[in-house]
């Protein structure tokens, strides 16, 4: 069971880190809304306040024409001399609109962008649609993969515990028979097995968490500092306390329920 919970924990770890990564990428999702050249400062301010009040919006950054020019120059770097001769107000002012995490889903972002397009004062509204769609798909895939694997793992753990408890019951068959002989209630006979199953589950889960921690440390020590897209492994985080508690609770629960199911079956078939 410790091995199965270890795999489950490893998956939680991967999922948490992957979600952190996706969140970081998601933070970069922004809608660029280019402002009409004729808008005055007061109108820009009013429009900014209006956009800021939309429920989907995390914050709005106003990029003035001058700022846009500077940013463009910075992007071009050494090649910025190609801009010589152009007026500094050639680029339009814009709003960089950052979306709240809950709304970073392809269709929601698209619907919001369409709403912005209908606002007066914007000439063009654009966002990295393909990127948003891919990100949404990845989040969805990770979530579904987690549920599917979790279900498979739980079934596996349940059967493993059931078999283990069955062996324990067989080993203590005589003891159970004596207890029944003297009229012990079923709950009293079952209680030690349920507690034992629960403790086994808890210990297995604890071992899996420890194993996971050592594995992560080993991974950090033995792998190169950077692995491309995922950046540094030093940034990999161990599962949080909530997830540790979840693994321990699942271990205990599966241990106890495996015991109860095995016991029920055995108790039904035994007479005497």
């Amino acid at each position: 069971m410790a091995i199965v919970l270890f795999v489950f924990g490893a998956f939680l770890l991967a999922q948490e880190n992957l979600q952190n990564l996706l969140k970081k990428w998601g933070d970069q999702i922004q809608i660029n809304a280019y402002l009409d050249k004729d808008l005055g400062a007061a109108e820009v301010s009013l429009l900014r306040d209006k956009i800021q009040n939309f429920s989907e919006v995390e914050h709005v950054r106003h990029i003035s024409r001058q700022q846009a020019w500077k940013d463009f120059q910075a992007v071009l770097g050494a090649q910025s001399n190609v801009l010589e001769g152009l007026p500094e107000d050639v680029l339009p002012a814009s709003f960089e609109i950052f979306i709240k995490p809950a709304y970073r889903d392809g269709p929601i972002v698209e619907a919001f962008a369409n709403r912005l397009r209908k606002e007066k004062g914007f000439t063009t509204v654009e966002y990295p649609q393909e990127w948003v769609d891919r990100l949404s798909l990845m989040v969805l895939a990770v979530r579904w993969l987690m549920w599917a694997l979790t279900a498979i793992l739980f079934v596996a753990v349940f059967f493993i515990v059931r078999s283990t408890v069955r062996l324990a019951i067989l080993a203590r068959k005589d003891e159970i028979k004596v207890m029944r002989w003297i009229g012990a209630p079923e709950q009293l006979i079952q209680a030690p097995f349920v507690v034992e199953g629960m403790l086994q589950g808890l210990i297995g889960a604890g071992l899996s968490v420890l194993g996971l921690w050592f594995s992560l440390r080993f991974l950090r020590d033995q792998t190169p500092a950077s692995i491309g897209l995922f950046g540094s492994l030093d940034r990999l985080q161990f599962i949080d306390w909530g997830s540790i508690a979840l693994i321990l609770a699942i271990g205990s629960l599966l241990g106890a329920s495996g015991s109860v199911f095995s016991l029920r079956r055995f108790m039904r078939t035994w007479r005497g």
């Binding site: 003297i182 009229g183 209630p185 079923e186 005497g272």
Partner: protein
């Protein structure tokens, strides 16, 4: 019909109606046994080996189920009793069979007291009573010994103490004095009869006819699974013998 039988059965502590037990493939251990035993009655079941004495007791404590017929204990139909019902029934019974069924890792005192504890009796009370019974049976010096370290006779006395600790409604004893000397056999029977004074119904299976006659109790004789004699003329004879 069932209601009538249940009402009739309640008048007796034990009632068997046309009970048979057939072990596969076709070995009949009991054939059409019908009998009634009143509350507080002491009954000896006699017969040679293989007569069906142990099977009869096993049916009464639900260790076996009859192939046919009905069994009532204190008006309760035992057929189809679930595990919870069996546990409740056994809490009201003192069982003493040839296989003693002890927890080997527990002491003699613990084994006896456990029978009190499982029915929810207070710990101190259970242990005091267990010690008193073991003392009466001459085992006060063996209280802390574990059953596997004791002789057959000593184990038998532990089982007797365990059977009596809860002042049971019914005592079912299979050859309870087999491993005991005459003095201890007398003491055991004295304990059984003492519990009878409190209203306990006692059924003792014994192949020793002289022993049963000494106590002037009702004697039910079995032969090859059939009831062949019942010293109580009010009781019907069953079976073919």
């Amino acid at each position: 019909m069932e209601g009538v039988l249940a009402a009739l059965a309640a008048a007796f502590m034990i009632e068997l109606s046309n009970v048979s037990k057939i072990y596969p493939p076709n070995a009949a251990a009991l054939k059409g046994i019908s009998l009634q035993i009143e509350r507080g009655e002491c009954v000896f079941v006699t017969g040679a080996s293989g007569a069906g004495k142990t099977t009869l007791l096993k049916l009464l404590c639900c260790e076996e189920e009859p192939s046919e017929g009905q069994i009532f204990i204190n008006g309760k139909d035992l057929i189809g009793l679930n595990n919870r019902g069996v546990a409740r029934l056994r809490q009201q019974m003192g069982l003493l069979f040839q296989e003693f069924k002890f927890l080997p890792h527990m002491t003699a005192l613990d084994n006896v007291a456990l029978a009190g504890l499982v029915i929810g009796a207070p710990r101190r009370e259970s242990y005091n009573k267990a010690y008193r019974l073991l003392r009466e049976l001459g085992l006060q010096k063996k209280c802390n010994a574990k059953p596997p370290a004791l002789s057959g006779g000593e184990q038998q006395r532990i089982a007797i103490a365990r059977a009596l600790i809860n002042d049971p409604m019914v005592v079912l004893a299979d050859e309870p004095t087999e491993n005991l000397d005459a003095e201890l056999a007398e003491e055991t029977m004295r304990l059984f009869l003492k519990s009878r004074e409190r209203g306990t119904t006692i059924m003792v299976a014994s192949h020793d006819l002289d022993f049963s006659q000494r106590y002037r109790a009702r004697v039910i004789s079995l032969h090859q699974g059939c009831l062949v004699d019942d010293s109580n003329p009010a009781t019907k004879k069953g079976g073919t013998g």
